[in-house]
């Protein structure tokens, strides 16, 4: 028995089963592929030296807080200097903090710096393919050295380039190093340029997009599920700073609310420093300085076009600023036995997640699932849990939304889109429209959409702007929190969905259609019928009672139809998609919810079995 197998056998009695790779001989099997786990990860900016520790989501077990998501500290990887002086090379050790802190003592945000684990797929003589951590010993068993494994990291910030359409306004960094090069490799970006071009980022003053680092193997401390000698690469993002040319010093801010423009007058709002002196390193004489989206002939993509510092004041000339965020690709290349194997991963550096225990109802994962997966099929084993999780995330998002502000903003926009001649605050400018789009939206006359909100807000009239004072706080916001907190509970949600399926069909804003469901021309051909009852059990089998619907709510919206771009109280109420139209859940989430309603309505098994077991599984 080799040493590792002995170790494995001695540890298998720990707190859980060992990983499949644990007891296998690292020298056996044919390597058929490499991959990173995770394949994509988000890094988050911050200027503190110490990165954020690891944490995970879990259900809060404190009954006084209700069943909701919380975060708890998780085993974290800390760097330990092999020389003992804090200097590289570092090895990784596991520490579990007793609490997560988001900033250091000086108030600097701790960056999120993700690790990427390198794995191999190994095929054994019996045909099984096993995922195995790539370690120094794994490589040596195959006649390779750490130095034969080469990382290449390419990072880019192309924000200025996407507006000016010039590569000389991009900031790109490339580093390449073997796996036994343990020093931090800085991603110092410069602008690619030809002899006659002025680079936005000069080679002598590069833009710091962060760094990547690998670590000395730690052979001492590993379990039968975790190896600290596994090859890992860590990306630490930039600090989140703004950089500009020397004249990007002090600017006068528009006093207008977000989304509004300051008219061209000679005096605006307050003056602010926009960059630190040491960050005024960009070339001033490039097309990015003074770029103006209002100028004819400038590219009208990406949108929105007013998305740079300077766009909202005066003539709209840009200050020529960029930041130190980026997205990057990590490539690992390994030559074994004449074969070249590659693994790829991506990282994105973005802003901090300032409410880390509140999850988006419409996440990046949801968007990618919506684009990639086939339409969902309701499954009694999984669908109740998925829908409950969706409603928990809806509550988590809704709990931090200012619905009163959303409503007043969205209803004003409706009046602009549809050309109200009497202004957005005329209570009846939208007379005859349903759902209501003016001040009567979500009020008693917004039938059949509004039901309980008018009852819960007795002091509010039919006004666009809710009455909310220092003590009278955001009436609509209070209601949405109260209602959605309940919907995050399995028995309440399941009962509501089973009892009022038509209400849910009506009240949830449908997503935009699939291409094949769109009418060829708006207002000419009839829209495709997307029937209720697609997932019904046949009546003879279920004794199901399909309730006749008194209307047939639309199952999708059409991006070409202006009425589908107006804001109403359908869920999520008044919220805006980043493409400037009313937000909905994804098509896939919507289809699953509708399928679940069909099942709950017509199949007693679903009603009796749909309550989701309590999350921790030990509460009865």
């Amino acid at each position: 028995m080799i040493e590792e197998e002995k170790n494995c056998a001695s540890r298998a009695s720990g707190d859980g089963p060992c990983a499949d790779w644990c007891c296998s001989d690292p020298a056996k099997g044919q390597v058929v592929g490499l991959y990173f786990d995770p394949p994509m990860a988000i890094a988050r900016v911050g200027s503190a030296r110490e990165p954020m520790d690891a944490y995970r989501w879990k259900i809060d077990e404190n009954p006084h807080r209700g069943m909701q998501t919380m975060i708890e500290p998780a085993p974290s990887l800390h760097l330990e200097s092999a020389r003992g002086d804090g200097h590289w090379p570092h090895r990784l050790v596991i520490k579990t903090p007793h609490r997560i802190t988001f900033k250091d003592r000086r108030g600097r945000v701790r960056p999120v710096a993700p690790f990427f684990e390198l794995w191999a797929r190994v095929q054994h003589p019996d045909g099984r393919i096993l995922a195995v951590p790539v370690t120094r010993r794994f490589l040596e068993a195959r006649g390779a050295r750490l130095g034969d494994l080469v990382f290449r990291v390419d990072a880019g910030n192309r924000k200025a380039q996407s507006r000016t359409k010039l590569a000389s306004c991009a900031a790109v960094a490339h580093v390449s190093f073997p796996a036994d090069s343990y020093r931090p490799h800085r991603l110092d970006a410069i602008s690619p340029h030809t002899r006659d071009q002025v680079p936005l980022v000069r080679p002598d003053a590069p833009l710091p997009l962060g760094m990547v680092q690998t670590f000395l193997p730690n052979d001492e401390d590993w379990s039968c599920r975790t190896r600290l000698d596994q090859i890992r690469l860590r990306f630490t993002p930039g600090k989140g700073d703004t950089f500009g040319p020397p004249d990007a010093t002090i600017a006068t801010a528009s006093p207008r609310p977000p989304g509004d423009f300051e008219p061209a007058v000679t005096e605006y709002g307050r003056n602010h420093r926009m960059t630190r002196p040491e960050n005024r390193i960009l070339s001033p004489d490039t097309p990015w300085s003074g770029f103006n989206f209002r100028t004819g002939g400038t590219p009208k993509w990406p949108t929105p076009q007013d998305s740079y510092d300077g766009a909202r004041e005066g003539s709209g000339d840009g200050w020529g600023t960029i930041d130190d965020t980026c997205d990057l690709m990590i490539e690992a290349t390994l030559s074994i036995g004449g074969r070249v194997l590659k693994a790829l991963a991506r990282a994105f550096s973005g802003p901090p997640d300032f409410a880390p225990d509140r999850r988006p109802m419409y996440s990046i994962r949801d968007e990618l699932d919506d684009r990639e997966l086939p339409p969902p099929v309701p499954d009694l084993a999984t669908t109740p849990g998925e829908i409950l999780d969706l409603f928990r995330r809806i509550f988590e998002t809704a709990s931090l939304v200012n619905l009163d502000q959303r409503r007043s903003w969205a209803l004003a926009g409706n009046a602009g889109i549809l050309g109200s001649t009497t202004g957005p605050d005329d209570a009846d400018w939208d007379e005859g429209l349903s759902p209501r789009l003016g001040p009567k939206s979500m009020r008693a006359s917004d039938i059949p959409f509004a039901e309980i909100t008018p009852d819960y807000t007795p002091g509010q009239g039919d006004t666009r702007v809710s009455t909310s004072g220092a003590s009278d706080r955001l009436p609509f916001t209070q209601v949405v929190q109260q209602v959605h907190a309940r919907m995050a509970d399995s028995p309440v949600l399941q009962e509501f969905l089973a009892r009022r399926p038509d209400r849910v069909r009506r009240i949830v804003r449908p997503p935009f259609a699939r291409l094949a469901d769109l009418p060829q021309r708006v207002g000419v051909q009839k829209p495709a019928q997307v029937p209720v009852g697609r997932w019904d059990l046949p009546e003879e089998e279920s004794g199901g009672r399909r309730r006749p619907s008194d209307d047939n709510p639309p199952r999708y919206r059409d991006p070409r139809n202006v009425m589908d771009q107006t804001y109403d109280m359908r869920m999520p109420p008044y919220m805006r998609h980043s493409m400037g139209v009313p937000l909905s859940i994804t098509r896939r989430q919507y289809d699953l919810l509708m399928g679940y309603l069909d099942k709950l309505e017509t199949d007693a098994r679903w009603r009796s079995n749909a309550a989701v077991p309590d999350a921790e599984g030990d509460h009865g």
Binding site: H64, P73, A74, A131, R232, Q405, H577
Partner: protein
């Protein structure tokens, strides 16, 4: 540290919902589940960039409108057609070979000359043109859709699951100076690109920097200035302020009655505007928020938020409810729910409703009073909405207690007789056998219908105070369910926890109402209506009691229907009860206002009083 990669597009396989777990060392905020998927300013990356390369070999841009108005250049504009730089053509599929031939042949040559725009796309037999149309003197005029509309159409193309079938056809045309399509179209057949490869990564045809290229520069620009607000889970609109000093078991302030109920603006400028309660419009909120540019250097002052409260980190020791009284058996649980908790909820909802109707409505404040007491109308509006929300919450709790009961019955836990809906108040407190007077303790006082005086509100605070004997009833139920895993149907624990946690919120709300109304202590008639409790046999309150009877009858029918899994009847009953509640509310308001005479309070409990001449 998993054994296999975690592709993003795995179907859900777990029930109950399990949280995705990051690899060793990574916080949950590295996960794609932590990022807002929709999608643009200042966030992790712009998912719209995927659609720029939706068709193999081609790159588009979705051009918007010129500042001077539509000039015919808007729409899905071809940036380039290039086989060599697209790794997808290394894959083995027949349609890719054909497409490669087209792009390397006459079609590709045509696309290399001049400006081309996407004209139509066709999938599964449906052809959608990227042009609107109008008719002038019997001639059809084509109007190009602007870029964002075109993007939505492209976004709606489905990922066909058969890798070998070319299910998507597109046509590109050139345009004349007026934006009209001209010349022969180039028609290409293929598939919409898959946006994730087999390892769960966005494929490498998207170059580093490409997926963030369209985002704000700098990121802080729109992080402060975006009007979208779809990203509250990462960028909150509203929060509760930090707790200074001791906290309650739910984590809110023990000392400050306003902390748990006052929303403050997360984007407020730190230092000068620490405790500003949030405004209901963007315009009103603007002055106290960080400015553009200012944000670039001060964004690290923004607070992190856990469970809705600003904080510097996770709690060191999460407060846990202590153990409460235990039940010996399920029968005891059922008995307590039936005889104590359901009547408790109903009684409290009636008592709080009575107090609600005793408060003046904002429109009853005279103009003289408005001048003398500028905050009075706002305070009344706030107190009424809060009081009503607690009363309705207690009604909901009564429903949940019944739901627990019928769930226990359906699971075979009822000893005998089966579930019968429980909608009734406590019996009046027993008179002291010695003095003959009813007791004057808290438990007795909160059974009485009283106006919302400060002393009544003080009792409401006390009855909802965490660890009060009444409050701890549910903590006991929670403990019992926690200690008996596998014994009861799923979901009961959640219901008990929800009722328990609501109790802490009620406590905080009542504390706040009492603080609001305490300013008018010397002038109680500014806030209270001049009402008296009507006798049970007063003819004036008969209609209201009739409505209440309708409510109770409809709820009983509804609960019974749900118990029997007859959802259509349950829904009809609940809607019937809601109509009755609205009629009841209107009548109660009318009686309480008085319209120039002394107002009347409705003796809600008269429906359950035993007639005096009954044996």
């Amino acid at each position: 540290m998993g054994d296999a990669p975690k592709p993003l597009n795995r179907a859900a396989t777990t029930c109950p919902p399990a949280y995705p777990e990051p690899v060793l060392g990574n916080p949950a905020s590295t996960l794609m589940e932590s990022g807002v998927g929709n999608c643009y300013p200042g966030l992790e990356f712009d998912l719209r960039q995927l659609d720029v390369r939706f068709f193999p070999g081609l790159t588009f841009e979705f051009l918007g409108i010129e500042p001077s108005g539509p000039d015919g250049t808007q729409g899905a504009h071809l940036v380039n057609a290039d086989v060599e730089s697209d790794p997808i053509f290394e894959e083995d599929a027949g349609w890719l070979g054909t497409l490669k031939q087209q792009l390397n042949g006459p079609e590709g040559a045509a696309l290399g000359d001049g400006e081309w725009y996407l004209h139509w796309v066709e999938q599964y037999g449906k052809r959608i043109a990227l042009y609107d149309f109008d008719v002038f003197q019997n001639a059809v005029h084509m109007i190009p859709y602007e870029g964002e509309t075109c993007w939505w159409v492209i976004r709606s193309i489905e990922a066909d699951q058969d890798p070998d079938t070319a299910d998507l056809t597109i046509a590109l045309t050139r345009r004349d100076a007026a934006g009209q399509p001209v010349g022969n179209p180039v028609v290409l057949r293929g598939k919409r690109r898959r946006y994730l490869d087999g390892e769960g990564m966005i494929p490498d045809v998207y170059r580093p920097g490409e997926l963030t290229a369209s985002m704000c520069s700098p990121w802080t620009h729109d992080f402060r200035d975006c009007a979208c607000q779809y990203w509250a889970s990462n960028h909150p609109d509203i929060v509760l302020g930090p707790v200074r000093g001791p906290s309650l078991e739910d984590g809110t302030s023990s000392d400050d009655p306003a902390q748990a109920v006052t929303f403050i603006d997360w984007m407020r400028r730190r230092g000068s505007a620490r405790d500003v309660s949030v405004a209901s419009t963007l315009e009103r909120a603007r002055a106290e928020q960080y400015d553009p540019y200012e944000m670039n250097l001060r964004w690290q002052e923004l607070d992190f938020v856990l469970q809705g409260e600003e904080t510097d980190g996770t709690p060191t020791t999460p407060p846990m409810a202590g153990l409460r009284h235990a039940y010996a058996s399920t029968a005891e649980v059922i008995q307590d729910l039936t005889e104590e908790l359901a009547p408790l909820e109903f009684t409290l909802s009636m008592v709080y409703l009575y107090a609600y109707f005793s408060l003046r409505a904002p429109d009853e404040v005279t103009s003289d009073q408005r001048r003398a007491w500028p905050d009075l109308a706002d305070d009344l509006r706030a107190a009424r909405q809060t009081l009503l929300s607690v009363a309705l919450s207690e009604m909901t709790h009564m429903r949940w207690v019944n739901q627990i009961l019928w769930t226990l019955d359906r699971a075979g836990h009822y000893p005998e007789g089966g579930y019968v809906p429980v909608i009734q108040p406590f019996q009046p407190a027993y008179a002291d056998p010695v003095t003959g007077l009813p007791p004057d303790d808290l438990e007795a006082r909160v059974r009485k219908l009283r106006p919302a005086t400060l002393s009544a509100l003080a009792d409401f605070v006390e009855v909802e105070r965490p660890a009060n004997p009444l409050d701890s009833e549910y903590a006991g139920l929670v403990d019992h369910l926690r200690r008996n895993p596998g014994t009861y149907p799923p979901g009961l624990y959640e219901l008990a926890v929800r009722i328990d946690s609501d109790g802490v919120q009620h406590y905080q709300k009542f504390r706040n109402i009492r603080e609001l109304l305490a300013r008018y202590e010397a002038h109680p008639l500014l806030v209270l209506r001049d009402i008296e409790l009507a006798p049970a046999d007063d003819a004036a309150v008969k209609p209201a009691l009739g409505h209440l009877q309708d409510i109770v009858g409809a709820l009983k029918d509804g609960y019974d229907a749900e118990h029997l899994d007859d959802m259509p009847r349950a829904e009809a009953c609940i809607l019937r009860s809601r109509d009755a509640m609205r009629a009841f509310q209107a009548e109660a308001e009318r009686l309480a206002r008085g319209d120039g005479v002394k107002g009347l309070g409705i003796p809600f409990f008269a429906l359950w009083e035993v007639p005096k001449n009954a044996t």
